[in-house]
C-alpha cells in the first residue's frame, strides 16, 4: 500500500480536494419479495458510496450480488427499500423529470428499438430531451461515425451484427452528452475479439469526455484498465473493497490491487 495513495475502505476517506459528489448512496438497502411470498430477499445491504465528478468507477462482484440493482436505483428504475440515493442532489426515483438528460445508460444487451433505424436509435435519448430533429441527427451521425458505423445510419437493427448493435447503443448513450454514464457489462454480450477492440475505444471515450461513470464488469483487467476507482461488492451487495487508482498506476500497485481484489472475490 503506497502512502500517498491510500486504499480507501468503504469510501470512508476522500482526497481533500475532491470534486463534487455526483452519486451518493446513503445506507441503502434493497429487498425483493420472494416469488412464493415467503419473506424477502436482500439484494443490497446497507451500502454507503459517494461517487465524485469525473470518477470512472468499476464495480466488480460475483453474479447476482446486486450490481444491476444498484444501477437501477441510480437510474431511478427502482426505489431503495431503505436509505437514500441521490444523483446531483436529486432523488432519482421520486424526482423523475429533474434528472432528464443527466444519466445515460449502456445496458448489458443493446435494447435498440427494432422499428427504428440505427440513426434514429442513436438519436433516441436526444429525442426524449426534445432536441430538434436536425440537431439530434447531427449528433447521432457524429457518434455513429466515431463508433465505426458510417454508412449504416439507415439500417434497421435486424440487419446489424451484435457488435454493431451494441455500438449503436453506446452511440445512443454518448449522443445525449449526459454528465453521468452507467454501463452494465456493456461488452459482455460480444465475442472476445469484438469486445477487446471495443473496450479500448470505450475506455477512451469515457475518459476524454470527463464525465462521471460507473461501469459493471466481471473482468479485473477491464476494471483496472478503464477505472480510476474499483469497488468490489459481496453478496448481498455490500462494499468489500474500495480503491482509487492513480492516472497511471505503477505495475507494483496494480499487482497489489489485483491481489486484494482476488482475495475479496474468493472470500
Amino acid at each position: 500500500m503506497t502512502a500517498d495513495r491510500p486504499l480507501v475502505m468503504d469510501g470512508a476517506a476522500h482526497d481533500a480536494a475532491s470534486l463534487p459528489v455526483e452519486i451518493r448512496f446513503d445506507k441503502v438497502s434493497k429487498h425483493f419479495r420472494r416469488p412464493d411470498g415467503e419473506g424477502t430477499f436482500v439484494a443490497v445491504e446497507d451500502v454507503n458510496l459517494d461517487i465524485h465528478q469525473g470518477e470512472l468507477v468499476a464495480l466488480l462482484g460475483k453474479a447476482g450480488c446486486g450490481k444491476s440493482t444498484l444501477f437501477n436505483m441510480i437510474a431511478g428504475l427502482q426505489a431503495p427499500s431503505s436509505g437514500a440515493v441521490h444523483v446531483q442532489q436529486h432523488d432519482p426515483f421520486k424526482e423523475f423529470a429533474a434528472l432528464r438528460g443527466r444519466i445515460a445508460i449502456v445496458f448489458q444487451n443493446d435494447r435498440l428499438l427494432p422499428w427504428r433505424s440505427a440513426l434514429d436509435n442513436a438519436a433516441f435519448g436526444l429525442e426524449m430531451m426534445d432536441v430538434p430533429l436536425a440537431r439530434r441527427h447531427e449528433a447521432a451521425r457524429h457518434w455513429l461515425a466515431r463508433l465505426g458505423l458510417q454508412g449504416h445510419e439507415n439500417d434497421y437493427p435486424h440487419a446489424l451484427s451484435g457488435g454493431m448493435r451494441q455500438r449503436v447503443a453506446i452511440a445512443r448513450a454518448f449522443a445525449t452528452d449526459a454528465p453521468i454514464m452507467l454501463c452494465d457489462e456493456p461488452l459482455s454480450a460480444l465475442d472476445e475479439i469484438t469486445a477487446a477492440r471495443l473496450r479500448l475505444e470505450f475506455a477512451e471515450l469515457l475518459r476524454e469526455a470527463g464525465r462521471t461513470a460507473a461501469f459493471i464488469t466481471h473482468s479485473i483487467g477491464e476494471a483496472l484498465d478503464i477505472g480510476t476507482r474499483v469497488v468490489v461488492l459481496q453478496r448481498p451487495a455490500r462494499i468489500a473493497y474500495d480503491v482509487r487508482l492513480g492516472a497511471t498506476p505503477a505495475e507494483a500497485e496494480r499487482t497489489e490491487v489485483r491481489r486484494r481484489i482476488m482475495d475479496v472475490l474468493t472470500m
Binding site: 437510474a75 431511478g76 428504475l77 423523475f96 423529470a97 434528472l99 432528464r100 438528460g101 444519466i103 445508460i105 445496458f107 444487451n109 435494447r111 428499438l113 427494432p114 422499428w115 427504428r116 433516441f124 435519448g125 429525442e127 426524449m128 430531451m129 434497421y156 435486424h158 440487419a159 445525449t176
Partner: protein, 202 residues
C-alpha cells in the same frame, strides 16, 4: 346497387372503429391495473359467449333508431376480442425496451408515441384483420333489425329462393371485405418493413 354494399361496409367499419376505441381504453385500464383486469376480464369473457342473434334482440328492445341498433350490435360482438387482443399486445411489450425508454425519463405521451404504439401496432393490425371477418358475418344479421338498406336487407328480399340474387349480394360483400383486408395487409407490409425477412421460410 353498390350503394347498398357501401352502406353495409360503412356499418361494419363504424362498429369496428367503435369497438377498437372502447377496446383500447379497456385494454389500457386492464394493462395498468391488475385489479381492473380481474374485474373486467370475466365480464368480457361473458359478453363473448353471447350469440349475435341475442344482441339483435337486445338491440331491438333497448334502442329505437336502426343505425343505433346496428352500431350497438357491432360494438358488443367485436369488443371483447379487440380488448383481449390489445391487452395481449400491451402485455407483451418487452420489459427490457420499456426500461431503456424509461431510463431516458420520457413524458407519458412520449412513452406512448415512441414505445407503446409501435410495439402494439402489429397486434392492432392483426386484431383488425381477425375482427373484420367476424364483423362482416355479424353485420348482415344486425341489419335484420329493420334496416331498409344494406346487404342484410337485400338478402332478406331474396328469401324466396332467388339463388342468383343471394349469391350476388354475398359475393359483393365478400369482395369488399377482401379489399379492406388487402388494405390492412398493405399497411402491415409498409409499417412492419423493419422486421426484415428471412430468405427461406420455415
Amino acid at each position: 346497387m353498390f350503394g347498398q354494399v357501401l352502406t353495409t361496409v360503412a356499418r361494419t367499419l363504424g362498429g369496428l372503429a367503435g369497438a377498437f376505441v372502447v377496446g383500447a381504453i379497456l385494454a389500457a385500464l386492464m394493462g395498468r391495473s391488475a385489479l381492473v383486469a380481474r374485474l373486467l376480464s370475466p365480464m368480457l369473457t361473458f359478453l363473448q359467449g353471447i350469440p349475435a342473434l341475442s344482441w339483435v334482440v337486445f338491440a331491438v328492445i333497448w334502442f329505437r333508431g336502426v343505425e343505433t341498433r346496428i352500431f350497438f350490435i357491432m360494438l358488443f360482438t367485436t369488443l371483447p376480442a379487440f380488448a383481449f387482443q390489445l391487452l395481449d399486445s400491451y402485455r407483451s411489450i418487452s420489459k427490457d425496451l420499456a426500461e431503456m425508454v424509461v431510463s431516458f425519463r420520457p413524458r407519458r405521451w412520449q412513452m406512448l408515441r415512441v414505445l407503446v404504439w409501435p410495439a402494439v401496432l402489429p397486434g392492432v393490425l392483426t386484431s383488425w384483420k381477425a375482427n373484420l371477418g367476424n364483423a362482416s358475418r355479424v353485420v348482415v344479421v344486425a341489419e335484420l333489425v329493420g334496416a331498409t338498406g344494406g346487404v342484410g336487407y337485400e338478402l332478406l328480399q331474396q328469401q324466396l329462393f332467388d339463388m342468383a340474387g343471394a349469391m350476388a349480394w354475398t359475393l359483393q360483400l365478400v369482395l369488399f371485405v377482401l379489399v379492406v383486408q388487402w388494405v390492412i395487409s398493405a399497411i402491415e407490409t409498409f409499417s412492419l418493413r423493419y422486421r426484415g425477412m428471412s430468405e427461406r421460410s420455415l
